[in-house]
């Protein structure tokens, strides 16, 4: 058996299962989206593009689209920024391998927590009356701050939890990546009179461009799937301040209206939008990495 055959036959079963599962559910969603099914009544009929046309006039849909976009941008940039700053800090200040590994281990802990558990921990930390954060704010003469009930900061407060989980995880990855870099160009930069932050900005991080782009993509995909975190922390509220597309789809499809067909149309649109967006980002990233 050639190597090519071997790869084909080992991957085939899993690919078939995954592809059929994905295709069946996508096909099902497309099928539903062309009806006017609801959970309340068993009757339905074929309505063509009606659901899609209605979506384009639905301001709540566009609000959710906007919230989703903001969520993506804030969590992806926040995660990467935190990871880069912390990784450089750890790389430069913690030289003993044992201590470095202990720190990495501690940084891995948050991402190992189930989302729902992390959400509950932070809901407690954020609590206006009992929460640690408001206690600290009180010591400074601030607050109480309504982290989750104030529409202007609720989305950011939830994003902090996401960044806490993933930023620390990515820090560990970056610390390990920094260790793999060749020493010589860094020493050359030291002799070239570059300061510490210049060495990282101009030499080490550019050398890590390709893995950094991969991390951005991984996090962007992951951020699309934050339903559980947002649902537990705010349920989309206050008002519609944290209602991303998946929350709105859930609300209209399952929770309130039970308008399954409408929600299906929304998921299909979401699928198309994200596929296009990621293709563009992927292309741009590859071009930039040269």
């Amino acid at each position: 058996m050639t190597r090519k055959h071997f790869v084909f036959w080992t991957l085939a079963p899993a690919t078939v299962v995954l592809a059929s599962l994905a295709l069946v559910s996508i096909a099902g969603a497309v099928w539903f989206s062309l009806m006017n099914r609801t959970l309340r009544s068993p009757d339905y009929e074929f309505v063509g593009a009606y659901n899609y046309l209605r979506l384009l006039r639905d301001s709540r849909f566009f609000n959710a689209l906007q919230i989703s976009a903001i969520w993506e941008i804030v969590t992806v940039t926040g995660t990467l920024a935190l990871a880069i700053v912390l990784a450089v800090l750890v790389h430069e200040t913690v030289k003993s391998p044992l201590r470095r590994n202990l720190i990495c281990f501690a940084f891995l802990a948050p991402v190992l927590l189930p989302r729902v558990a992390a959400a509950f921990i932070w809901r407690f930390l954020y609590s206006p009356s009992l929460g640690l954060l408001n206690y600290l704010a009180g010591l400074l003469g601030l607050g109480p701050i309504e982290f989750l009930a104030d529409p202007s900061i609720a989305l950011l407060s939830v994003a902090v939890v996401d960044i806490w989980q993933w930023g620390l995880f990515f820090t560990v990855i970056l610390v390990k990546l920094l260790e793999t870099l060749p020493k010589d160009p860094i020493e050359a930069a030291m002799l070239d009179n570059a300061s510490l932050w210049q060495i990282h900005a101009y030499v080490t991080l550019p050398m890590l461009k390709a893995p950094l782009i991969s991390l951005v993509l991984v996090k962007a995909v992951e951020s699309l799937r934050s339903f559980d975190l947002i649902f537990v922390m705010t349920g989309g509220g206050p008002g519609k301040a944290t209602e991303t597309l998946d929350l709105y789809a859930y609300q209209s499809g399952i929770n309130l209206g039970g308008r399954v067909s409408y929600a299906s149309a929304m998921s299909i649109l979401l699928l198309i939008v994200t596929t296009i967006a990621f293709t563009i980002i992927w292309r741009a990233g590859k071009k930039w990495a040269g």
Partner: protein, 364 residues
């Protein structure tokens, strides 16, 4: 341009001492080569002068300033690495100018200097390329340009030619030498290749296990090795060594190794006594075919002939010991032939058998 002085430098990694109490002073404008077998501490020494490695104790002074605790960038040195150490994501021009941009040299001045060094090193066609699209020799030229553009007080080279093929190595060696003739910047060049050291150095500092074994001009090192180690390390083909014992009869001084008798000039070795156990050092390049009846004649059977083009190395079995000599006339002998060859008495080196130190009179 500056002189360098290192006093009682010690370097230890944990309990493992790599350099011990090393003193060295390098005058302005000199081209010094650190030579020695790999692992003897050449790079460590160079990196301590550059500031990339902390000294465990001792001082480094460059141009009258104690730089022992200064950052590498503040010492006014430029270094060229064996691995080239270019910044992979920057173009050649960005690589070369990175250091001067950090120093805040004005833009027009940077452009002017870039043009100069690029022209000098033939890099003009490549300025917009990335390092990975250059050959090894071109990459090392970029590294040299990056060092030159800073007009440093001192150039440091750590085996810069070791990753290049023989022809290119020779070419770049000449270029480095020319660059030094033009700029006269004090230079330290590390290598384990004795031929490279001989051809390029004003002065060779020969190191062994973290200490200086001998320093001097290439001629001094070649003609008057202070120890057997130096004699063995320098010169290609390698020196022949022959254990012998001294016999002094009146004015005549001879070293006997079994049936072989080598006469020595008494005025060069006035300290030798009868019965003293020594080791003779006979350079292949100083020996040649000789007719019967010549002084210091050695006789043996040819084992192997190595053709080196204009001359050849003949390896012969002399009473059970393999010895080699170099001759232009190598085409007249065949393996299995009996050959006679000889060395002039003034070219024989004599080392103490126990300590390995040269027994040549002081001042010669």
């Amino acid at each position: 341009m500056a002189n360098i002085s290192c006093s009682s430098i010690t370097k230890a990694y944990g309990t493992h001492t790599v350099i011990e109490g090393l003193d060295l002073s390098i005058p302005d404008h000199e081209f010094v080569v650190f030579l020695g077998p790999s692992g003897c501490g050449k790079s460590t020494m160079l990196r301590m002068i550059a500031g990339l490695e902390e000294v465990t104790s001792g001082n480094v002074v460059i141009d009258g300033t104690d730089v022992t605790h200064l950052a590498p960038g503040a010492r006014g040195v430029a270094m060229v690495f064996q691995s080239y150490a270019l910044y992979p994501h920057m173009t050649v021009a960005e690589n070369i100018t990175f250091g001067v941009r950090r120093q805040g040299v004005p833009k027009p001045e940077i452009a002017r200097r870039l043009k100069d060094v690029a022209q000098l090193l033939g890099l003009e066609p490549f300025l917009e390329r990335r390092p990975k699209n250059l050959s090894g020799g071109q990459q090392q030229r970029v590294a040299m340009a990056r060092a030159m553009i800073k007009t440093p007080k001192v150039f440091l080279f750590d085996e810069p030619l070791s990753n290049l093929d023989a022809k290119l190595r020779e070419k770049l060696r000449t270029e480095i030498r020319k660059m030094h003739l033009a700029l006269k910047t004090t230079t330290i060049f590390v290598t384990h290749d004795q031929l490279e050291a001989m051809t390029i150095a004003d002065r060779i500092v020969l190191m062994r296990a973290g200490q200086i074994e001998q320093q001097g001009t290439p001629d001094e090192i070649f003609d008057r090795p202070a120890t057997r180690f130096v004699a063995d390390f320098i010169g290609s083909p390698t020196m022949n060594f022959l254990p012998a014992s001294i016999e002094r009869m009146g004015e005549a001084l001879t070293a006997a190794a079994g049936p072989i008798h080598i006469s020595l000039p008494p005025e060069r070795f006035s300290g030798l006594k009868t019965g003293q156990q020594v080791e003779l050092g006979l350079r292949p390049a100083r020996m040649d075919l000789a007719p019967e009846g010549s002084a210091n004649l050695l006789e043996g059977r040819v084992v192997l002939i190595e053709n080196m083009g204009s001359e050849g190395q003949v390896i012969a079995d002399v009473h059970g010991t393999e010895m080699s000599f170099v001759t232009k006339d190598f085409r007249s002998v065949r393996p299995g032939d009996r050959v006679r060859f000889a060395i002039r008495p003034e070219h024989v080196h004599v080392f103490d058998r126990a300590s390995g130190r040269s027994l040549l009179n002081d001042g010669l």
